[in-house]
Symmetry: C2
Amino acid sequence: MSPRKTTSQELTREIILQKARTTFVEKGFQQVSMRSIAKLLGCSHGAIYYHFKNKAELFYAIVEEDFSKLNYWLEETIQGSEDDSTKLYNVLIRFIEFGLNHQSQYEIMFLVRNTEVDSLSQEAANYSYQKFAQAVQSLAKKKLEIIDVWSAFIALHGFVSHYRGYVDNFEEAKLAAKSHVNFILKGLNG
Amino acid sequence: MSPRKTTSQELTREIILQKARTTFVEKGFQQVSMRSIAKLLGCSHGAIYYHFKNKAELFYAIVEEDFSKLNYWLEETIQGSEDDSTKLYNVLIRFIEFGLNHQSQYEIMFLVRNTEVDSLSQEAANYSYQKFAQAVQSLAKKKLEIIDVWSAFIALHGFVSHYRGYVDNFEEAKLAAKSHVNFILKGLNG
DNA sequence: ATTGTTATTAACCAATGGTCAATAAAAGGA
DNA sequence: TCCTTTTATTGACCATTGGTTAATAACAAT
């Protein structure tokens, strides 16, 4: 009989995002229901729909934050003080690192082909790829074919796309990642 | 008031598989419901559960057939009469070709991390990789590191995993596929 | 005919994503 | 202080989903 909580315990966008993030990261998009998030928040599922249009939009709000983190990270690597070949290596490794440490987000951005989330994520994914391509091209020893940069990206994507679910974080796949990156560098430099 | 149809139109495992296959391939695992298959078959969804334990098992029965096709195809390529480097190229291309022409099946085998289908698909996926690794190793010019074979596989997987959903079949991504395979060959031979 | 097996139905269950009228708390005047 | 408007929340409701199961009709064997 209390259709509204007192100010102190009111539901904010930020509080929802915070709780939803950890839950999505733990269990993945499909396995999390709006009702389960509501239960964790101690509110009704209807309340969440007041703050977010639907499940996809709630999720996307989370994803967006993380992707700007990735872009920033790539940018930072380019600006760094190491020599170019080290930087290039780092860009590739860090892409994998990001993918495996933000599996749920990576899934939505680069894997899910669900019409619900598609139009939103497509744009951001493209932007992130542009950042990546730009980084690789500016750091490579020789002038690269754009198609080879694309292949390098696809090969990285394959790594993340496979190891996601098998490992919990980047650390667990670090060795394999390093070796895979060296394989890709052979493709780029050869 | 007719809890059973006459013999001529009886529901068999084969008829279900046939109809379900085309539907799954068209729309993907998640987008197809047991009820929608039943509607196409002109029976109730309960009837399907008589023939298959659940949705995952029905789908897996379909996947299994297609994967034995892939294994056979790889085998056939190794046995062929071309020279080894052509054969190697073909093995890589054909893996992609299979992936893009059987997207729904590929998804379940190599992408889905859903506990419902997992234990079943894991085995078959492993077996297919063994076939692939064996083929690549026997066809390469020089003795390959197993980790490099693995990287090649992961890189191919990335290609399929990305283009699935964007293209309807292999033909539409053929050019990109050829270029990607050449990229991978540089990694293997360099 | 009787019996047992096989196939099919339809009613049922618990979840899900999503909508919406009702309503109470808060905020802002007068 | 009282009245009004805005804002946030609830919970009942809807359609759809995957899955279960008792009832029963069709068939085959005896």
